[in-house]
Symmetry: C2
Subunit: 350 residues, 2 copies
């Protein structure tokens, strides 16, 4: 390859995304017929998900493994297995939120796509058109869309709902989000007390708010939710269960035909009635949970994820293309979970 | 009711659209437990679809029946049954395309919704995002969308694909469509020869083009289609099978992951590979056929259809609200299929 590496891909790995083996071969990669053959002799193994326990035996001793490891949900047997083989496992979820690492940030690239897709799914489930339509037979009112959580996913959900002509409101626990929401043409809905003003953390993630604040916010949003046609929830707290934003009572306050898209369903959900990859009908309100929205845009999610990996590659290789973890680099140390037989990341040691 | 009529609705008729029996009762309607009870004693029967043969016995003698009768596909036994009961059957599909009848035009109101929905379905099937996205990990290219046929459905498909950020082109056999397509921000693709220029008919529908023109147009569109990500076909010819616009060869020229939405599948399809309510995978190209797109927006399609019917009501009732077909009115005569035991519409007599 142009960067001096030799690359092996598992056969049909890109098929779902529309990338055929022949395309990889044309780009200079070798095709292996199975996962074990793909990783054989590799210095660096890139994966989407972390390994299953049974896969670890096939990894070469001392290799680097770079993947979305789901670091807060790792099986201790997998960690032990990685350490037994002295694997240097790097978790893409731990890419620090610093400017230099933006191009490597897979959570951002995938959240962006997820936010778009959540609104497309919502529009598909919703039994009306999203935009206002002025027709000879009368006017179709625009959909009222409420986006809860205005991080990367929420902002893209807002932008997409606005594109489709929805009347969009949004909420977030971070005051900085108010300006971002407004810049996309949506109205911000939040209890703006002192705690709210103090809540923005340096890392850009939301910290968990107090029970008191959550109660006040729930009261404000409850009356707002009752009037919405589509609600998209995006609230995640790293390493914890997703916060409940929409109670059963709030769901039941909505009009029949309304739609809730719970983007946090894989982390327990922002709505207790959502279920992974199901559309639950609650008195005519459709509660939809998608556990893996990027997989519903396989071509783009694969492309952006591979660009994230490619941007990260120089931090784990020397100029002669050999494996060389730069453990002085704060990006590498933030992402490194295990190395030389030891668990080296305090975020998963506890 | 405000207009002096008494109205009976079949129980749960609006359930799919999110309209409950209680809402109809609050509006002053009676609820009947089945179809036979609903039409009992009625002067005027409004339906969505024309009757099955077995339903005709329940209709009161001499009543007016107003529905989307599918006049070109009617079972002769149904026509005979309607005549035996001296039913005045009026076909909403035959609403003339004149200004005064626009508010009654159900084909237009439903085509508009279908055009929107076709693009939402296309976006859902497409494994990439529609808009250009400039992200830290790189730029996602916008989807190239080609809309074939720029009638009411095609224009709304163009508008929706543009809303979603697609790069949109469109084609039509009518030269007037070129300006309409451009006004929505899409580029017009057509062989603009003399036949094309002569093809616009007074009624606003497309007449069937010559085989020679179709061959030239197919050649131009074939090279264009090969480069598209999403193609939406909307070409219908009243009373005939839909024209083939996308051959098997053209489908196979498209990139894996591309999507075709065939809106004409219920009339035989604009693509011979499409099948009703299926997504056919042709070497990675997804060919989707939706036989009833308005049913996928049940709330809006019901609302607009009922507004179409309401606008038509004065033409079949006297001032005292009794049944009174105004057979001097060109709208009524255009729509009337059977009356007093005779088939009176020459468009279905042949």
């Amino acid at each position: 390859m142009a960067s001096g590496h030799s690359v092996t891909i598992e056969s049909d790995a890109g098929k779902t995304a529309g990338f055929l083996d022949s395309a990889y071969e044309e780009a200079g990669a070798s095709i292996a017929k199975d996962a074990a053959g793909t990783v054989q002799g590799a210095d660096i193994v890139f994966k989407v998900r972390g390994p299953e326990e049974g896969e670890i035996a096939t990894l070469p001793d001392g290799a680097a493994l770079i993947a979305l490891m789901e670091p807060f949900a790792m099986d201790p047997k997998v960690i032990a297995g990685l350490n037994a083989k002295k694997i240097a496992a790097l978790s893409m979820e731990f890419t620090p939120r610093i400017t230099r690492a933006q191009s490597m940030d897979a959570l951002s690239s995938q959240s962006n796509l997820s936010g778009y897709r959540a609104v497309i799914e919502g529009a598909q489930i919703y039994g009306r058109a999203m935009p206002m339509m002025m027709t000879a037979a009368g006017t179709v009112a625009p959909a009222k869309v409420f986006v809860m959580g205005a991080g990367v996913a929420g902002l893209q959900a807002i932008a997409t709902a606005r594109r489709l002509g929805g009347v969009v409101t949004a909420t977030d626990v971070r005051p900085a989000a108010k300006e971002q929401v407004a810049s996309l043409g949506a109205k911000f809905i939040a209890v703006e007390d002192d705690e709210f003003k103090a809540a923005e953390t340096a890392g850009g993630y939301a910290k968990q708010m107090s029970a008191e604040y959550q109660a006040k916010q729930a009261e404000l949003t409850a009356s707002h939710i009752a009037k919405q046609d589509i609600v998209v929830t995006t609230a995640l707290i790293p390493g914890r269960a997703a916060p409940v934003l929409i109670t059963e009572e709030m769901v039941k306050s909505m009009k029949p035909g309304s739609v809730i898209v719970d983007m946090a369903v894989a982390q327990g959900g922002n709505c207790p009635l959502s279920a992974p990859d199901e559309i639950v009908d609650v008195g005519g309100v459709k509660v939809a949970g998608f556990s893996n929205l990027p997989a519903r845009l396989p071509a783009d999610s694969s492309s952006l994820y591979s660009k994230n990996l490619l941007a990260f590659l120089p931090l784990v290789t020397a100029e002669d293309s050999s494996l060389n973890l730069d453990t002085d680099d704060e990006v590498v140390t933030a992402m490194l979970l295990t190395r030389g037989g030891e668990t080296v990341n305090e975020r998963i040691q506890s």
